[in-house]
Amino acid sequence: MPHVKSLTPLRATAAALVIAASGPAHAQLGTTVAIAVAVAAAGTSSSSNPADATAPVLHQAANSAVQWQESTDANQIRVRQYVSSSGQVYAVSWDGPAMPDVAVLLGTWFDRYRQEASAALPNASGLHSSRVSSSDLMVETAVRLRDFSGRAWLPSALPAGVAAADIE
């Protein structure tokens, strides 16, 4: 599948922490997940089943404050939730052969996204991407040919040391 992109190298350099997150598999933007770190086995990053959405793994890039939880569903839609050390989901991203349920991923921010995207339409970027850029919410979507990708984040909630470019 074409949708793996940089996943493998990132996984290789990450220390994987198996977490037990309460609530739905897809925590919503802005919510806080209870992260109970069960295992912190730094040397066994890729041994767990990466495709099993029921066993999310907390990834941490080497030398970075960026932590994300990733799952790939049966339709090969890959979703990431970026979480702060306190468990807040400050960003989400997705990529796959179909659009994920963006309302679920954005949670209470979904209506704001639609309002601002609608208001921006006249000077928007055409059929294949959209962007909402405000002080408290950023959303980018791109649908190119058969590839569906996007990301959303809360600028004021980015942890220290995390930049928008880290959200992939």
Partner: protein, 440 residues
């Protein structure tokens, strides 16, 4: 000659007075291979064999300039020759929503096998998607197109997610007439069709609705990208969310859809000139132009007006359709050439932005290299202006409009100005081997 027949039949049938632009031969009886419309074509010796390469005749990795003439099974480089009128006018001009760089055309659709037809204007031309989609509100109520049945036995519907929002509507068949070409009994999407249930939450949760001419900024979309169907085999094997649905008893649920019934790139259904297209638009000055007109010409290497000539062929990934773009030390592997994007979009941190557009203080010249998956490359130089100034100019064709993208390179409509850009359809034979590819 064909118009005469058409008018005659129309007069006899006495359809609604609002019908117009019959556009091409009647008859055809709904068969896939047009028997009447393209009749004058068969003058060339190679015309008899099927123009669309079957799966057995794939490959031809090295583009060969001269195809050996083989009569029986057509090799990938043999293209059936055609004399069917294959040129459709396209324009970029002011539109109701004020959106810049909207490439538009007119299409004529007919009830399959009949001369009951309608011409719809303000259809966006999009090389970044596949299939014809038209707002139900733009169609005459008397143009009742047959519904496609979902594999579950229910009425087929489609949730088509674009980057800017989704279209929801029925899947119906129509004879699609573009210039003199006919895509007979081809699946199209009728957006916001009142005959099917309203959009399911599953679909509307994808983002912004594009169910009106204001939200869509057009009356519809003509997707003429590098694939023959919008979704492809993924939707044939799996009931993917936010793609195809089966509707019965007022409820629509995700369903599988065979590729042949999916909303289809009409070009791939033409009798000839069916392996791709070339878009020609004039160069536009740095400050833009109020409007421009150009052409989309169907087929590649099938007539004297669609020869590749000196264009560099850049094969794209046969599954994703993407090519690569090298720009300022980075290589972006998910690049495409897209008439449906109204600017050039790429990552660049060294230039001031205004919203997601670039707003440099002076026009900047930039360079990139586009590469095919076989390593063939083509250098591209382009310029980028101040988006705020360009929007304020009152011009609607803007060659210097560019904006930010997170991790890809989108060669949008400005790329097409002053170029002759070919898009070859997957698995179809061209003089340079099978598609998919871009060439310019």
């Amino acid at each position: 000659m064909r118009n005469l027949t058409c008018v005659l039949i129309t007069a006899i049938v006495a359809v609604s007075a609002t019908m117009s632009g019959c556009g091409g031969g009647g008859g055809g009886g709904g068969s896939n291979d047009s028997t009447s419309a393209a009749a004058p074509a068969a003058s060339s010796p190679a015309a008899a064999s099927a123009p669309l390469a079957s799966s057995g005749a794939s490959a031809a990795s090295a583009p060969a300039a001269v195809a050996p003439a083989q009569p029986a099974s057509a090799p990938a480089n043999t293209v059936a020759q055609s004399t069917t009128p294959n040129v459709l006018p396209i324009t970029v001009a002011q539109i109701a929503t004020g959106t810049r760089n909207m490439l538009q055309t007119s299409v004529t659709i007919c009830i399959p096998g009949t001369s009951t037809c309608q011409t719809i204007n303000n259809i966006q031309v999009d090389t970044g998607s596949q299939g014809l989609r038209i707002l139900a509100s733009a169609l005459d109520p008397t143009l009742v197109l047959p519904s496609v049945t979902a594999s579950t036995g229910s009425t087929a519907a489609s949730c088509t997610v674009f980057g800017s929002g989704y279209t929801w509507g029925s899947v119906r068949t129509a004879d699609v007439h573009l210039a003199g070409e006919v895509a007979a009994a081809t699946s199209i999407q009728v957006i916001a069709d009142p005959a099917i249930p309203v959009v399911p939450t599953d679909c509307s949760n994808s983002g912004l609705p594009m169910l009106t001419d204001t939200a869509l900024r057009s009356n519809g979309i003509l997707g003429v990208g590098p694939f023959s169907a919008d979704c492809g085999s993924g939707c044939a094997t799996t009931a993917l969310p936010r793609w195809y649905y089966g509707c019965s008893s007022g409820t629509c649920v995700a369903a599988t859809m065979p590729v042949a019934q999916q909303v289809t790139n009409p070009i791939s259904r033409f009798a000839t000139d069916n392996n791709g297209l070339v878009i020609d638009l004039p160069a536009v000055a740095a400050t833009g132009a109020a409007s421009v007109t150009g052409t989309m010409t169907f087929g590649i290497g099938s007539q004297s007006n669609n020869l590749l000539g000196s264009a560099q062929v850049l094969p794209s990934n046969s599954i994703t359709g993407f090519v690569l773009t090298a720009f300022q030390g980075q290589t972006y592997s998910t690049s495409f050439i897209d008439s449906g994007s109204n600017g050039l979009f790429f990552p660049l941190s060294s230039v001031p932005t205004c919203g997601f557009w670039f707003c440099p203080t002076a026009v900047q010249s930039l360079a990139a290299t586009v590469a095919g998956i076989n390593g063939a490359t083509s250098s591209v130089t382009f310029t980028m202006g101040n988006a705020t100034s360009l929007f304020a100019s009152g011009n609607y064709a803007l060659s210097n409009l560019a904006g930010t993208a997170s991790n890809y390179f989108d060669w949008g409509l400005p790329f097409f100005f002053g170029r002759r850009v070919f898009t070859a359809i997957e698995a179809s034979a061209t003089p340079a081997g099978n598609g998919p590819y871009y060439a310019f």
